[in-house]
Structures are given as C-alpha cells and as structure tokens.
Symmetry: C2
Subunit: 414 residues, 2 copies
C-alpha cells in the first residue's frame, strides 16, 4: 500500500482546496508548478488527437489494434442482461442494468507512456455502454499528452481528453470545474499523490481500487526453465522498488538455478536499480516439501499475478483460491496479460485478491432492483409482511401495507 | 452519511487497540461495558440456536420461510458461470468465479430485532457458495441474541454465531481473536460506531457499503391515493431522524392532500418523534410542471428507494437512471421490498445509486482471470507484445517474451 506521509497528505489536502475554490485557474497553476508546463487550454482538440497518429509508428498502431480486438473480445463475455421474473403470486421482480453515466480515466504520464492503460480501463467502460468517458493525462515537456496515449484513446472512441494530471486531476473530475464536468467514477493508476487523492474522494465518486505495488508469484516444478522464471520475476520487479517477486518450488536445484539467472539477467537491464531493490526487499525463493504446499502458501499471499509453471497446469487450477490473474504453462508470461491476451491488467494487490476482482465490465454498470406487485399479490403477502414488520418494531412499515386494504383508506383520491 | 465526531473516532480507535492487543478478553470486557452483559462464552451453542425456535411463533417461522424462499428465488438469478474461451491463435482465456472464503454478517441488536437483515445478507452469501458464514449480534438484557435473529440464521444454515456487537465485533472479525477467526468481508448495517469501524477496516477486509440514512422518493401523478403516499413516506421516516422522505408530483392538490394525511397518520405512530424530525429536516413535497421533470429531479437525487405511483409505471422505467430499488404501482409499498418480495433491502444511499448497486450474489464472489497460451500462440503474438512493452519503456517485460524464443535460453533446464 502506498505510504502517505504527513507531508504528502498536507500537499494533497492543499491541492484539493485549491481546485474546489479556484477551478480551472488552480488546474493551470498546478500544472505549471508540478509539470513545468504553461497550458493554453485544458481540453485536447480533435486536431491534436488526429495529429498524434503522425507521431506513432504503423507497427504500434497495428499492435494497439490487435490488443484492442483481444481485450474487447474477452470483456464482451462479461456483459450481462437485465432480467425480469414473473411471480405466481401476481407480481414481477427485476434487475435492471444501467451503465454509469460519466467515468474519468486517469492515465499516468510524464516520461513514460501507457497506451495499454488506456485500453484496459477504457474498453470495459465503452462495452458497458458508458456514454461519457473522459480521459486525463499529464503533459510531457512539450506541453502535450504522449501521442501513444492519444492514439489509444482515439482508437476506442474517447474524444473528451484533458491535459491534466496529479491529485489536481482527480479533484477536478470529482468536484468539476468550469471546463471539466464532474464524473461518477474514476479509474486508472497513478503515483502516490494520485492514489491518495483517489482514496480521499472515494464515496463522493466511485473508484476502481487503491493500487498497491505489483506482485508476481510463480509456482514451478523441477522441470521448468529457470531462465523463463527469472525473466518473469524481473518483469514485475522492474515496475517498482516495492514490487514483490516470489518463486515457490519443491526443487532446491531449480531455486538455485533461478538465483543464478536473476543475477545474470539483471546485468543487462536498464532498470537494474529498481529490480535489485525490489528483489532485495520483497523477492523470495521458497522451497517447499510438496507442490501442494506451494499452492497453500500462494493462496495465503493471494498474489496479483500467479504463474503456474508446472506439469499439466489446468489440473492444478482447483487448488487456486486467491489470485488476480493466473498464467498457465511456460508460454504465458505475465506481460502477455499486461498488453495483449485480452484479460484486464488492473488486478487486486496487497492480498486483496481474497475479495477483489480484476477490473471488468461490472465496474462500469450498476443494478437497480424492480418490484411490481398487483393488488391481489400484495393481499396474499400482507399477513407475512405485517408480521415481520411488527416483529421488528416498525409500525409505519406495517401500516403502509395494511392501510391499502382498510375501508376508509383503500380508495382515497383527491 | 454518519457523522463521526472526534469523540466517536477516539472511542472507536481505543476499541480497535484493545481488540488487537487483548482479543477475547477485550471482547468480554467491552460487551460488559457497552451491552451491560457479562458473557460466559462468545460462541452461541447449537442448543441455544435450537432453543430460539421455542421463543418465536409458528406464524413468524412461516413468514420467514416464505421470505427466504422469495429472496433465494430472486438472488439465484444473479448466479454467474465461469467461462473459458478458445482463441484461434492457440490460446485459452478464462474467468473463474470463486466464492469468498469467509464472510462476517453484522446484525444489529439491542432492543429491536432484525431477522430480515439476517436473510438479506446471509442468503446471497450462501447462494454464492461462501463456505464459512459467521454471524455476530449484540446480546439483549438477558445475555442472549434475540431469538428471531437466531432462528433466521438457523433457517439459512448459519451455524457459527457469536454474541458480540459494536465496533469491537467489527474489529474481532477483521483481526481475529482466540475464538473468532478473521473474515475476508464484513456485511451488515449498524450504528455510528459500527459504521465507523467498518470504514476503518475497509481494505484489510472488504465491506458491503457505508450505509447512510434511509431515503424514499415518490413520484406520483394526480390520480394516486394520498393516504398510500403518506404511509410510504412515514415508513421510511420512522427509521431515523436523518431519513429522507420526498414526494415529487405535478399536482399541487395531491401535494396538499398528502400533507394533511401525513399530519393525521403521524398522530397514531409510536415513533412519532422520529418521523416528525425526519420530515421536518429532510422531508420535501416538490411540485413540478411535468412528470418528466420529476424523473429528472429523482435522477439527480439518486434515491435509495424510488416509488412510481403513476399511470402505467413500466412505460416510465426508461427514464429512471439512478435508484437503488424501484417500486412500481400503488401495490408495491417499500416495506414489500424490505421484507418479502425477494429483492435485497441493502441498497445504496446518499446519492451513491449513481454508481453502487443493491447487495447481491456478486458481493460474495471474486473473479480470477486465466491466460493459457501455447508456444505457437505466443510466437504469433510476440512482435506486438514486445513492441508495446518497448514503447512503454518496460524492458524486462519485453525480454520475458523474447527470451522464450532465443536459442540459448529457450530450452534451458536444471
């Protein structure tokens, strides 16, 4: 979980107050302060969106299109139907599914660009039927949002985009400003300031989840390729010095081979500083007696990403109780899920896979229950309802039913 | 939203520390302090559960059984299947649904009893397949949980019950004590101490929602029965001096008739103090130009309970964007939903119907994504994945894929 120092809390609290009282002016000032950019306007024009296509390669476009296709195909299977039931007692019940009206996507920026984040957050929202999807992302040095982000947004039909980041972006979307109407839900990961801001506004808006540091847990048997395992551990370790990378195996020899591989593979990594810190502090190689024990430990940890590099991995699936996403076999490296396969890469961290799920279409809809009884139906039900209301000491609840059948009240009209 | 004064926060913080450090001993001490009862044991024995049946009427049992049947029937329609997909590229994806392992139900107690709360929280959990459902409820003066609560628990198969309430109950279920193993999720409403405790532990466990005061909003046309409307407004007002009760109608005459009815009907209510305060502070009768406008206002308020007392209510449903539960027509009084019809009575309040849903089976399961690619499948995908990882500056992500096809690493074994 992100560490919110007093200093960070004060800073974010101040930003909140500024945005609430000064709206767009505060956003401009804060963007200049934190991003070093003097914006002319917050909203990204259609021309600027189109221009971004010039600044990305055709290969990237093809890759994004393919990823989009896969992500849509998978998430489409999550769509649910509203339902109605006919009750024999003369009534009808229902569950009506409505997309959220307006959702804000936060896409981190700065030096790196995350078009995959746009796809993973935006596609389920679009499939759910959200009419107004807003995207905000901080500017680069040149004052513009990274072209890869703009291109991904355009690809999935997002046209309302603002050059805006940080806690100020979260508060703008929560409270609304002159330029930016407020939203009902905010999704997307960000730095510690963004994460704290999201936590603060939860309840006034909905949020996806408080993202903790990345985690990978690999269960492997002795027959696996240690180079693959090391590479996968490093792929998560490179995210964050706080990332966790764990191998659990009954084979001591495999554990030792992976250690060697880790050392070797890290030499050539640009982000060696980050991976080394992550592995030193949160890296583990655990040797168990049995494979069974490995699953037991994994369930207790409830990892964000779980790789099963074991013989016949499907047969072991019933043992998995808690994990965000499971990658089976030696050719399902975790980055496959991050970018391409179609499953969502926004996953529960910090043990919350015990009760939270990957981001899905469900995160962008809400249900409304329906109750429609006939007079006869209510008459048949009234004895039981009145008895229960009476038992719970709720007299007016009881009377709301009984009065509908009392001579002097049952037919009143103005 | 509940008001958490400094005093309440301090008190609950102290309770948390006591439970964390002294476990069962703290629970005993706090139950004596707050409930005035010296418990012999926390766990309710099977005999005590059975004994409760002697202390409730047969009629109540019949009513609870019927309500249970209706609630099960409705919630069963919410059950979802895990799915698997076959990808033409040589891969397989899936979404695996797993029930939460252990869930705690909080049932408020004291002078009143809420067997309906047991059913509404327990049945979706049981249908979802949660193996360990724990129920806690504070003792009455005689040291026992109210028999109606025990009976309802037994009816739906809950056997792990503890005589325990308040914030201490929430912390016991979150951290675990000698007697009470910790849970993954806590559901159920409670007083301001319980609500604050739930808010504090959210993230360490999941919770259902932070329940705000009850709300009813009635949209009515001129042909409706003002006695019905007044009775329904009062049925919510009786919950809480902070409850909201709103009528929106294009008919001034109806509004005036309802005002008269409210005055008259309140005379005879035991909970008159509560209803009067609620209506004074949060009661409204709004006269609009058109029915259309009424729906517009209702959507902005996003009520917990929405009653449509209008001609052909179904035809107006498409206008409803935000509401927890909609009651259609003159014979669907809100208490029908609270106790009997089958829909859940745990609903979003304080405007959160814009993005939250009624409690459902979905609240007791979690999804796990599955990814299983063949070597050929990954080979076909690798160019796109490596390009995307590279674009995002994640080198180790790229290498985790490419290394699987490099001569010196692709076939390594220990």
């Amino acid at each position: 979980m992100a560490l919110f120092t007093e200093e960070i809390k004060d800073s974010v609290g101040e930003i909140e107050r500024m945005v609430q009282s000064r709206g767009d002016a505060a956003l401009m000032a804060l963007t200049e302060k934190f991003d070093g950019v003097k914006l002319e306007s917050l909203k990204v024009s259609e021309e600027a969106m189109d221009e971004a296509f010039v600044n990305v390669s055709t290969d990237l476009l093809i890759a994004l299109e393919k990823a989009k296709e896969n992500i849509e195909k998978y998430h489409r299977k999550q769509l649910r139907e509203s339902f109605f039931t006919r009750e024999e007692n003369g009534g009808m019940l229902g569950q009506m599914i409505t997309p959220l009206k307006r959702v804000g996507l936060y896409v981190p920026g700065g030096t790196a660009a995350y078009p995959s984040s746009v796809l993973m957050n935006g596609i389920p929202a679009a499939l759910a039927g959200v009419k107004e999807i807003v995207l905000i992302s901080p500017p680069q040095q040149d004052g513009k949002i990274h072209p890869g982000v703009l291109v991904a947004a355009k690809l999935i039909g997002i046209t309302e985009v603002y050059t805006l980041g940080g806690a100020q972006g979260i508060f703008a979307m929560t409270y609304g400003t002159e330029s930016i109407p407020k939203v009902d839900k905010i999704v997307g990961p960000g730095n510690v300031y963004v994460t704290l801001a999201k936590k603060m506004v939860y309840g006034q808006v909905d949020i996806d989840m408080i993202a903790g540091p990345s985690e990978i847990l690999i269960i492997a048997d002795k027959d696996q390729n240690p180079a693959f395992i090391a590479a996968d551990l490093l792929s998560q370790a490179e995210h964050d010095p706080l990332a966790s990378a764990i191998l659990i195996t009954p084979s001591k020899a495999l554990g030792e081979a992976v250690l060697k591989e880790l050392e070797q593979q890290q030499q050539n990594l640009q982000r060696k500083d980050i991976t080394q810190t992550a592995l030193e502090n949160q890296g583990k190689i655990i040797i168990t007696e049995t494979l069974e024990e490995a699953f037991h430990l994994s369930n207790r940890f409830a990892p964000e990403h779980l790789e099963l590099l074991v013989e016949d991995p499907m047969s072991h699936l019933p043992k998995v109780e808690n994990a965000g996403c499971v990658f089976l076999g030696p050719y399902s490296p975790e980055p496959l899920g991050d970018y391409y396969a179609g499953t969502n890469h926004t996953l529960p961290t910090s043990g919350s896979a015990k009760y939270f799920s990957p981001l899905s279409v469900d995160d962008f809809i809400k249900n409304t229950s329906l109750v429609y009884y006939t007079k006869e139906g209510l008459q048949r039900a009234r004895k039981d309802i009145e008895l229960l209301a009476d038992y719970e000491g709720l007299e007016a609840h009881k009377k709301a039913v009984s009065l509908r059948f009392e001579e002097d009240t049952e037919d009143r009209k103005i």
